[in-house]
């Protein structure tokens, strides 16, 4: 967990996150990430074997209502025209994006 992040890893992570890093941004990002990862490495001091991960706290609340899922039936949703009016480009039915497939 004290692995040093490399330039290649930063670039790969940026690609996964659809973020662009300029040549000037890369070294600073590398330093920041390594500093933060060094800091979080403190967690290695703790033995957590056998501890179940806690993803969210609802399970701690002892809910007596037998679950939080609503009944599944059709309900009105947002108006399509109103939603599409906020998009950069649409054809009135679909969102439009630049061409995906080259041929």
């Amino acid at each position: 967990m004290t692995a040093r992040v490399t330039v290649e890893e930063v670039q790969r992570v940026a690609e996964l996150a659809h973020l662009e890093l300029t040549p000037e941004e890369t070294p600073r990002t590398l330093n920041d990430l390594n500093a933060i990862l060094d800091y979080v490495a403190e967690l290695n001091e703790l033995d957590t074997s056998g501890v179940a991960p806690l993803a969210q706290v609802s399970e701690l609340l002892d809910r007596a209502d037998g679950g939080m899922l609503r009944d599944d039936h059709v309900q009105p949703s947002l108006d399509r025209a109103e939603v599409l009016s906020q998009a950069p480009e649409t054809d009135g039915v679909f969102f439009k994006v630049p061409k995906v497939i080259e041929r």
Binding site: M1, A3, V5, E9, V10, V13, A14, L16, A17, H18, L19, E20, T29, D32, L33, A35, I36, L37, Y39, V40, E42, L43, L46, T48, V51, A52, P53, L54, A55, Q56, V57, S58, L60, L61, R63, D65, M68, L69, R70, L78, D79, E82, V83, Q86, A87, P88, E89, F95, V97, P98, K99, V100
Partner: protein
């Protein structure tokens, strides 16, 4: 009356105390105060103060004045008015209001006008509140000083050379400067409590699930809460009563009945057992802040509380756990901002992936990018177990530690932040130093418990100090009772 002093140049102070909610509402019910006049007077004060403080990002005047007119009509007819009738309220710009700008403090949502209201916003309006406008905050609620807003920082009304805290800096400053009677904010790792403490107002962290997150622009979904700010504890309790409750639009919202928190807060703190964890008074705590909190604890004892030490030995791991979990969730939540459905799209991108990358690069600020990268890294193949899974395991240890402590005490009190408000620019160069401003708030976020931060004295320079009062899940009433006792002093 104002005893603020400074070594060199005089401190520029915009603090002003609003009337209480009960006083204002009584005037509106009696017809001696018109909601329309009250709204107009708040817009006037906003016009005077906003150029310097940068608290509001946009105003929703038309909607506010229409609501004020409805309240005045209802009052004239003698109709029963809602608990917030005519009360001018501000909304953090991460909560959506139909047709109003919703920027989340980011350029990537510039121009976006959401087609619906957040549940908490709709509930406020149904209770009669007049919604003045949208409040400045750190971009996507990521920050502890409001300096990450793409629209410039908020200045602290107590001292304009200082930060208001973050991320809900605008929400805290608006109440401190009486630019709104009360406001809504959001808290993921301390974003309500820390700015409330820095600006000298009351801020509430409701239990996870107590208030619907529908219409809250997501940062870290397992941690995000919506909560109120007010100038006194009772008003904050009244607001929570209005916005709390189950919402079919948020499956994590709690079905537990909502008590009248204001009435609960009247019950007094006598005989409550108050825990004081030594871990929150260790190295790094400013001595002046410590002295204020110790005075507050003495006041609690004088009002009949039992004070006892509690042990929370894993506290030091909370900040690393928080930054791993919050950034991992953020990296997933913020994937939706890609120039397809809302916000600006980068021009001249030949391919879809160029378009995504360029739109996100132009839209996101440095801290948001840093957190997305950290979160993506922590979730990526080969590192998931070492970082994200480990953090979730320690999250359980931290949550269970709090639950054990609450077997022995009714509430736990700590400083809200290790220092009073720091200077603008003081920590912007060092992300880690900024993260440590959240050291006393993130554990409650991870555990999902509730809390209230209440003003508890000031430093010699006149900077407010806040005491954090924490209580077990769905036990807001206890936190309010203790906070009222601290407020009385």
């Amino acid at each position: 009356m104002n005893s603020l002093s400074s070594a060199s140049k005089p401190v520029e102070n915009y603090v002003e105390h609003p009337k209480t909610l009960a006083e204002l509402r009584a005037g509106i019910v009696a017809g001696t105060t018109k909601a329309a006049d009250l709204a107009a007077s708040y817009y006037e004060r906003i016009a005077q103060k906003n150029p310097r403080l940068n608290v509001f990002l946009s105003l929703t005047k038309e909607r506010a004045l229409a609501q004020a007119a409805r309240v005045d009509d209802a009052a004239a007819k003698g109709d029963t008015l809602g608990p917030l009738a005519g009360i001018p309220v501000g909304i953090k710009d991460v909560l959506v209001m139909r047709g109003a700008p919703a920027t989340a403090g980011s350029k990537i949502l510039q121009g976006y006008r959401p087609p619906y209201d957040a549940t908490a916003v709709a509930k406020l309006e149904s209770a009669g509140a007049v919604l003045l406008g949208k409040l400045n905050c750190d971009e996507f609620a990521m920050g502890s000083s409001n300096e990450n807003s793409a629209y410039g920082p908020v200045r602290n009304p107590v001292d304009t050379e200082r930060v208001p805290g973050g991320s809900s800096g605008g929400s805290a400053a608006a109440v401190a400067a009486n630019m709104a009677v009360a406001t809504l904010g959001s808290d993921t790792g301390g974003s309500i409590r820390q700015p409330a403490s820095f600006c000298g107002v009351v801020g509430v962290l409701p239990t996870y699930g107590r208030v619907s997150r529908y219409g809250l622009i997501a940062f870290a979904s397992s941690l995000d809460r919506v909560g109120p700010f007010a100038s006194n504890v009772r008003d904050a309790a009244t607001l929570l009563t209005v916005i709390a409750g189950h919402d079919p639009h948020d499956a994590t919202s709690s079905p537990a009945p909502v008590p009248d928190y204001a009435a609960e807060s009247d019950k007094g703190a006598e005989r409550l057992r108050i825990g004081v964890p030594a871990e929150y008074f260790a190295e790094g705590l400013d001595p002046e802040v410590r002295a204020c909190i110790e005075t507050g604890i003495a006041a609690l004892q004088a009002s009949g509380c039992t004070i006892k030490p509690v042990a929370l030995p894993h506290t030091k791991y909370a900040v690393p756990v928080y930054y791993l979990i919050a950034t991992a969730e953020a990296s997933a939540n913020l994937a939706r901002f890609d120039g397809v459905r809302y916000g600006p799209r980068s021009k001249d991108s030949a391919t879809l992936s160029d378009m995504y990358r360029h739109s996100r690069d132009e839209g996101f600020g440095a801290e948001v990018k840093r957190r997305i990268l950290l979160g993506t890294y922590a979730l990526s193949a080969g590192y998931y177990d070492a970082y994200y899974l480990k953090a979730q395991q320690v999250r359980r240890i931290l949550a269970e530690e709090y639950l054990r402590a609450f077997n022995e005490v009714d509430a736990i009190v700590t400083p809200t932040a290790p220092t009073a408000a720091f200077k603008l620019g003081e920590k912007t160069g060092d992300p880690l130093a900024m993260y440590l401003a959240d050291i006393y708030t993130v554990t409650a976020s991870l555990a999902g418990i509730c809390g209230v931060t209440v003003p508890c004295g000031a430093t010699k320079a006149g900077l407010p100090v806040g005491m954090q009062v924490l209580a077990r899940h769905l036990n807001e009433s206890t936190a309010f009772r203790v906070a009222r006792a601290v407020e009385r002093g």
